[in-house]
């Protein structure tokens, strides 16, 4: 309900009258005022944090403190290895695990994203102003970092793309009218999760990476060459190791950058 009102407010005369996306001036006004529509979603996350209960009767706050007291600075070090789940988790997967294991709320699929994304936004804001600090202490973290680096450069799919082609080699150029950023070189991780104005949604880095993979035209070789209908593998499933590996690679590169979330993007 709330979201659709926001959407209609934003979708009205202001942003989508003539253009598909807001102008940089409009973005600037929002930023200057120190408020963004993303704050509404973060607020929703904060509310879940304190009030969402499942089968265990616990809330996030029961374990992690009022106002996220014990999670201050946590996001600056994520993704990292967690012994209770026995693997490296990013903020999305960590929250999913806590929801299912400790709160007792099913967090599968799209329904899960409904809680996880606002919660991720809220948890990330608890590290605002702090420098990103990925340490790579656990062997699993090191392994995934190396894997992420490999994936970053990996040319694959029916379009011979890699992350590096668009975000290192072509950084600064335009795909159609979209300017290509350099997440690794320019430490852009510092503004993720980010609110995408053109979509009226908060996106975590998982959403971003999955979106970028869609442009690769990856295909299942079991069914021959690439075919839009037969074997297009559009995106990796959420929480997959490959996504977390790429996050680890990009976020390590952003070490030292001050976290400023939620970002506000086109």
């Amino acid at each position: 309900m709330k979201k659709s009102i926001l959407a209609s407010l934003l979708g009205g005369a202001l942003f989508f009258a003539n253009a598909e996306a807001p102008t940089p001036e409009q973005l600037k006004i929002l930023k200057e005022m120190g408020v963004s529509p993303a704050d509404v979603i973060v607020e929703e996350g904060r509310d879940y944090y304190h009030n969402l209960k499942g089968s265990t009767g616990k809330t996030c706050a029961s374990c992690h403190g009022q106002d996220g007291a014990n999670l201050v600075g946590a996001y600056a070090k994520m993704p990292r290895y967690y012994t209770d789940i026995g693997k490296v988790a990013d903020v999305d997967l960590r929250i999913k695990a806590c929801l299912e294991k400790y709160v007792g709320v099913s967090a599968k699929g799209k329904k899960g994203r409904k809680y996880i994304v606002p919660l991720a936004g809220y948890v990330a804001t608890l590290s605002n102003e702090m420098p990103i600090n990925i340490e790579l202490e656990h062997p699993e973290e090191k392994r995934l970092y190396e894997y992420g680096k490999e994936l970053w450069y990996k040319r694959v799919g029916a379009r011979d793309f890699s992350c590096a082609i668009c975000h290192d080699v072509l950084a600064g150029k335009r795909i159609r009218l979209q300017k290509l950023g350099a997440p690794v070189r320019d430490k852009l991780y510092a503004h993720w999760p980010a609110y995408r104005i053109s979509k009226d949604k908060l996106w975590t880095m998982e959403d971003r990476i999955r979106g970028c993979y869609k442009s690769f035209f990856l295909f299942d070789p079991k069914k021959g060459k690439f075919d839009f209908k037969k074997n297009w593998v559009k995106k990796p499933p959420f929480y997959m190791e490959e996504i977390i590996a790429l996050e680890l690679y990009m976020k390590k590169a952003a070490n030292g950058a001050k976290i400023e979330v939620p970002g506000l993007l086109r």
């Binding site: 509404v40 499942g54 606002p118 040319r155 150029k173 035209f217 070789p221």
Partner: protein, 208 residues
């Protein structure tokens, strides 16, 4: 004026935000937590397997290009690379390398671009040339990754070279960002011949 509107917008958004989101969530969460069934797990892992298979479908040339500079790596025999890429190129059965430019235009343009120009259905996701190139001056939302194709047909370039480049750009520029349309089967030989016509025909909007 604009600013005033913006302020009311944000204020009202703020007010709306004060309603607890947990209320809506409560009903959901009170339902018993469905344990992931074995079936669901299998579905997820098969999706993961599929994605890994797709990542594994890397050919040896892509592998050679997967380095930090994203170009043919040092020490590699470039002449051999080019020779191997050339060997993959197939030509239309009738041997005609220059087809119908109007069909070619419809392959080069996205459906929305085609519609904007001609007000009717056409276009395709296959070519997507304007993501990287400019060319037809009526299409303003064009990329600057490859050189502009404006007036390409007036340069005296051999259409066979154009055909080969579109079929397999790596037969001319190893590891190029321009993907290998024919090699990957994104475009058929006949379709590529139509695009060659789109680039070379004096009547095509590329050259007019």
């Amino acid at each position: 004026m604009k600013k005033g509107f913006l302020v009311t917008l944000l204020i009202s958004a703020g007010i709306i935000a004060c309603q607890p989101a947990s209320q809506a969530a409560k009903e959901e969460s009170q339902k018993t937590v469905a344990k992931a069934t074995a079936q669901n797990k299998a579905k997820k892992s098969s999706k993961e397997e599929k994605f890994r298979r797709a990542l594994g479908a890397q050919d040896k040339w892509q592998q050679a290009c997967s380095n930090p500079v994203q170009l043919a790596p040092e020490g590699i025999d470039v002449a051999q690379f080019i020779k191997e890429m050339k060997a993959t190129i197939k030509y239309p059965a009738d041997g005609k390398l220059v087809g119908d430019w109007k069909k070619g235009e419809s392959l080069a343009l996205l459906p929305k671009e085609y519609k904007a120009l001609y007000g009717k259905k056409g276009g395709s996701k296959k070519g997507n040339c304007y993501a990287c190139h400019c060319g037809d001056p009526r299409i303003i939302a064009c990329g600057n990754i490859g050189p502009s194709l404006r007036g390409y047909g007036n340069k005296g370039i051999d259409p066979k070279l154009t055909y080969d480049r579109i079929y397999n750009s790596w037969s001319q520029v190893p590891c190029s960002t321009m993907f290998r349309f024919g090699y990957h089967g994104l475009l058929s030989p006949e379709e590529i011949a139509d695009i060659v016509a789109y680039l070379h025909d004096p009547e095509s909007p590329i050259n007019k």
